[in-house]
Structures are given as C-alpha cells and as structure tokens.
C-alpha cells in the first residue's frame, strides 16, 4: 500500500511539474506548481518528515505561491501570455544528456543502504537539532531574511519616491 502511494504521488509530481513548465498562461503554471508541491509534501510524509511536509505546504503552496500570483496579476497578463515552450534541438540535447548523466550517476552510486532507518521528523526532533547544532546557521538565515525584506522593499519601490 505504502509503496504504491510512492509511485502514485511520484507520477503526480512529475505530471504537475511538466504541466507547470508547459502551460501557456502563467496563472495555470502557478496552480500546477501548487499541486506539484502538494505532491512533494505527500512524499515528505511518506519519508516520515512530518514537519517539512507542513512547512512545504505553508511556505511554498502558501506564501511563495501568493507572491507569484500577485506579481503575475500586477504585471500585465497579456504581455506575459503567449509564451509557450520554445523547444530547440540544442536544449533537448542538453536536457537529455543531463538526465542520462544523472541516471548513470544514480545507477553507479555503489552500495546504498537497503532499508530506511527509524528517523521520524517530528517538530521536536528537528527543532532540537536546529537549535543546538545548527543554531548559528539558523541565526544567519534570520539575517538573510531581513536583508531580503529590505532589498525587496527598495527594489519594488517606484523610482522617484522617497
């Protein structure tokens, strides 16, 4: 049962990702991207990463997607429309080569652990690691987010405003 769900959500994730990059209308792309990230959240649950599944839905499907939709609607949609996939032979060659190399790399991975461990990503466990071993990077992320806020405000301001 659990194994079948992996293939179901994996296929959904690939399908929705494909529809995201293929859709002509950017709003449809954004909607398909939400569905792709929802499938990823389901896969995170299958890997027992419960906190990350919740964060994925909150941050990606919630915050980032609202940001994308706002900008798509602020930017004149007609100008952004009518831009489908531009398939050129060179790009297809690059993508196929990349996929082949990646596949070879995974196939040649060497001995990998056959079974999963008992790790369950509950908020308690992840938070304990985050606030002990990774407390300095955590604080650095807060500085990064603050500077991103400042940069966004400065960039999005209309020129000429104080």
């Amino acid at each position: 049962m659990g194994d079948a769900l992996f293939y179901v959500f994996g296929a959904l994730m690939v399908l929705f990702t494909f529809l995201t990059i293929r859709a002509r209308n950017p709003v449809y792309s954004a909607i398909f991207m939400i569905l792709s990230f929802a499938s990823t959240a389901a896969l995170f649950v299958m890997l027992d990463a419960f906190l990350l599944a919740a964060v994925e839905v909150l941050v990606y499907a919630g915050a980032i997607m609202v940001l994308f939709l706002f900008v798509i609607m602020l930017i004149n949609l007609r100008a952004a429309e009518h831009d489908g996939l531009r398939v050129s032979p060179l790009v297809v060659l690059v993508a196929l080569t990349f996929l082949l190399l990646l596949g070879r790399g995974i196939a040649d991975l060497g001995p990998v652990p056959a079974g999963a461990n008992e790790l369950v990503g509950t908020p308690q466990l992840v938070a304990k690691t985050l606030f002990t071993r990774y407390v300095v990077p955590f604080e650095a992320v807060s500085i990064l987010l603050l500077s991103a806020i400042l940069g966004t405000v400065v960039l999005a301001r209309r020129s000429g405003e104080a």
Binding site: V14, A49, F68, V91, V94
Partner: protein
Amino acid sequence: MIPLEHWLYLSGMVFTLGLCGVLMRRNVILVLMSIEIMLNAANLALVAFNKYLPPDPATGATAPDGQVFVFFTIAVAAAEVAVALAIAMALFRRLDTVNVDDVANLRW
C-alpha cells in the same frame, strides 16, 4: 520498501524538468518557477538520503541533518523568490517586458 534509488530517480526527473523550464521558457516568472522546482527536487533527494542514512553507532539514532538542510533551503528559496519577483516588477515597470531575451544589458 522503496529503494533509495527510486527516490533519487524521481528527484532527478523533476530536476531535469525544472532545467528544461529554465532553458525553454522566456517569461521571467516562469524561469523563476522552474528554479523553485529544481530547488524542490533537491529537497526531496536530501530528505530521502536522510531517511536511508545508517544510524550513528555512538547514539544508535539517526540525526535529522538532511531535514534541517531542507529547512534552510526553503528559507533561502523564500528570500530568493521575494527579491527576484521585486526585480521582475522593476523590470516590467522600466522596460515594459518580462521576456528574458529582451533584457541582455546589465544596466541602462
């Protein structure tokens, strides 16, 4: 039990789709979305590796380091998207375009 390779193949497929999106779309918003897809594929691989990591022999438990990395990736992706979309807005306001091919110069 799903073998680790299957998770990695899935992650690789989604990453390649994101790469195709970056290379084939000319709308700057779609390029950004494709970058998010690539980051997300890498996140999936990190969580899968963490789940299959053998336990630490000293403590007998596996540390959730991979999940913490994904936490940081999501935070960085959120910051990156906010700044990049602000740039896209400024671009549209100044040049009236969101096509990356029309933006070949670094300054005006």
